[in-house]
């Protein structure tokens, strides 16, 4: 008797577990909440630490009281993997944020996103920086609302102390010269002329943008000058050594905010970070912006960047509302909402730039404003199904060149050889 009872309990527990497991997978979200509001779900990463999302959602809800936006918060590092898993499982989240164009091309080419040409047309693709990246044979499956690009941050106080003018019209040659002049060591405190972060883009994407070259091509001789410049800076002690930066996991923010580096090529996303750090009293760095140093001295500024975009899920519960939201977010209203917190919107016009420079704590000099209007912004990495695999090889070989294990020539040759055999299948 007792045994049967025990067995019955065991069975009941098991069945119970199974049932709750089933109950966990709820059906499609209800079209309307209890208060008559539409619940629009948007996938985001690190909601607390990425204030642009809250800024956009709050502003949209204020303008559209009938919509209630619910962020689906995902860990930033796991974002692409998590979204892939969600989509493969038929998730019904309405709006999907495209963190980078490589993932975008994967989702779009696998038919996971809805075509939204009408939205892009309404906002006007000519005004949307970076919209070309989302063009797949004339079809758009996402609209960019944010466009980051690279420029040069510099420490005005360190420049003044060294008696050097603001870094106007820099070529890489002049920049190297300045960096060496600005490097000092006084009282045990080392100040570097510049800081190049360990990412491969700091060398490779700059070289690709300014030489109009393709990082998926398998021929990397175009990177030679840029590597030589960077290695020269490192050898002369004008920037922190790559090996140290990597093993110490050096934070580029600390390097600049604590005045350990007089210059730093970096993306515009850091503006919001630096404004916040100053507001919180974590730094008192007197900073300015300048255009990225150039290969030629013809006055043209070319840099690279990457757009962030919103897309509509193929399985969205509220497709129409999702499209409306994207049209708003990529448009003038959305641009204003994120400008207010120092994020660079994809929609660019004089009014928005003016608004942007009105931000509390932004430098107001002409050079900083000029830095904001580069002549040409190339994509950080081309949109292609090969990009993820190429990226891995380029990263590994970048390491070896930067720690000095391979000469620039050998490293670039190896890069080409590996990309050709492992990625392009030649």
């Amino acid at each position: 008797m007792k045994r049967t009872t025990l067995a019955a309990i065991a069975l009941a527990v098991t069945a119970g577990l199974g049932l709750t497991g089933c109950a966990g997978a709820a059906g499609p979200a209800e079209p309307q909440g209890q208060d008559g509001k539409t619940r629009l779900t948007v996938s985001v990463w690190n909601y607390e630490g990425t204030p642009e999302f809250k800024a956009l959602f709050d502003a949209y809800e204020a303008a559209n009281p009938k919509v209630d936006i619910e962020p689906v918060d995902i860990l930033a590092d796991d974002y692409p993997q998590k979204v892939t898993t969600m989509l493969a499982g038929g998730d019904t989240t309405d709006v999907l944020t495209m963190k980078n164009v490589i993932d975008y091309s994967r989702y779009a080419n696998n038919g996971q996103l809805q075509e939204i040409n009408s939205v892009v047309d309404k906002v006007g693709k000519d005004n949307l920086a970076g919209s070309d990246a989302f063009d797949i044979n004339g079809k758009y499956f996402a609209a960019p609302y944010r466009q980051d690009f690279w420029l040069l941050y510099y420490n005005k106080d360190l420049f003044k102390a060294a008696g050097i003018d603001d870094p106007k019209d820099l070529t890489w040659e002049k920049y190297t010269e300045l960096a060496k002049k600005l490097s000092t060591e006084a009282g045990g405190k080392k100040v570097y002329g510049t800081y190049h972060h360990i990412w491969r883009s700091t060398v490779q994407a700059i070289a690709a943008a300014q030489n109009h070259a393709d990082q998926n091509s398998g021929d990397y001789s175009f990177m030679k000058d840029q590597y030589n410049t960077t290695l020269d800076l490192q050898k002369s002690g004008a920037t922190l050594d790559f090996g140290t930066a990597k093993s110490q996991k050096t934070s580029y923010r600390t390097m600049f905010e604590s005045g350990q580096a007089a210059m730093m090529p970096m993306g515009t996303w850091y503006i919001a970070g630096i404004l916040q750090a100053k507001k919180d009293g974590k730094t008192n760095v007197n900073w300015g912006l300048a255009p990225l140093p150039q290969k030629d001295s013809n006055g043209e500024v070319s840099t690279f960047g990457s757009p962030t975009a919103f897309a509509v899920n193929k399985n969205a519960s509220h497709s129409d509302e999702a499209k409306k939201f994207i049209e708003w977010a990529a448009g003038e209203e959305g641009a204003k909402a994120i400008s207010k917190i120092g994020v660079v919107p994809a929609l660019q016009n004089d009014a928005i730039t003016a608004e942007y420079f009105k931000l509390d704590g932004m430098p107001t000099d002409e050079l900083s404003k000029k830095a904001f209007t580069p002549d040409e912004t190339a994509l950080e990495m081309p949109v292609s199904d090969k990009s993820a695999a190429t990226d891995k090889v380029l990263n590994q070989e970048h390491d070896l060149i930067m720690v000095g294990e391979r000469s620039v020539t050998d490293g670039l040759a190896e890069m080409g050889k590996r990309v050709k055999s492992e990625v392009l299948g030649q």
């Binding site: 067995a7 065991a10 098991t14 696998n110 140290t244 990597k246 720690v403």
Partner: protein, 307 residues
Amino acid sequence: MTTKTLPPVAPAASRGNRKQARRNTLIGWTFILPNFLGFLAFTLIPVLAAFALSFMEWTSFTAPKWVGLANFQRMLASDTFWVALRNTVAYALGHVPLTMALALLLAMLLNRKLKGIGFFRVAIFFPYITSLVAVAVVWNMLFSPDSGPINQFLHSIGIAEAPGWTSSSDWAMPAVIITSVWRDMGYYMVLYLAGLQAIPNELYEAAEVDGASAWQRFWNVTIPSLRPTTFFVVVMLTVSSFKVFDLIVVMTNGGPGRSTTVLSQLIYQEGIGEGKFGYSSAISLVLFLIVLTVTVLQFKIQQRRER
């Protein structure tokens, strides 16, 4: 006549026994059922599915496509696979013997009655229960080529050309091995300590009476008596060495270049990173077969020794 007839009770009894046995088995099954269902759903079926996937191409969006041995052909032709395999073996060859030797040494040192011995045992066990990410980050700082304490110490004792550790492709693997040995030796020390304490004292006394030196006692009493413990330690260490992932990801992320890329990391990169689930399943099948072969070999050797 009576001897020829079988007692009629026997078959009935055996039938009853069998019934009882089946009942017992069934009840046993119901006890493990809840746990087994979880194991089935989250371990066994995924593992079998991964084996099947290694013969398919699957990006997770569309239905898997049967490609036969294509994944394996690609793998054997891939330079990176061989680099990762070599690195995994190199890691195991460094990690297994070093951890074993140090764990045994520490266990012998700490296997005595001494005031405060508990403190030392805990101190040596501590790295094992420390967060692995913290361990990796701190060791990375210690190994820093210019400002790290290790190289500063090496400079101070007159070594001018100190190794570049994690920033050099020749020294990155030794750096990872040193860190993992430091972390793991405490755990295996505890296992050895238990083994040492199970050796009867009479054996040592008898050896001493026979005039055996300390070295002879170690070699002829301690080592043979520890054989079952050593076997367990070797198997566990080998399996964990081939599976190494987290420490390497945090310390070097496979770099510089590919100098510390190991198989399990390659599986992650190809599968989760690039969405080539078929290909990464093929690599994981190979890793499984390697670990299986090594473990079976170890069992065989152990069996022969015991005979």
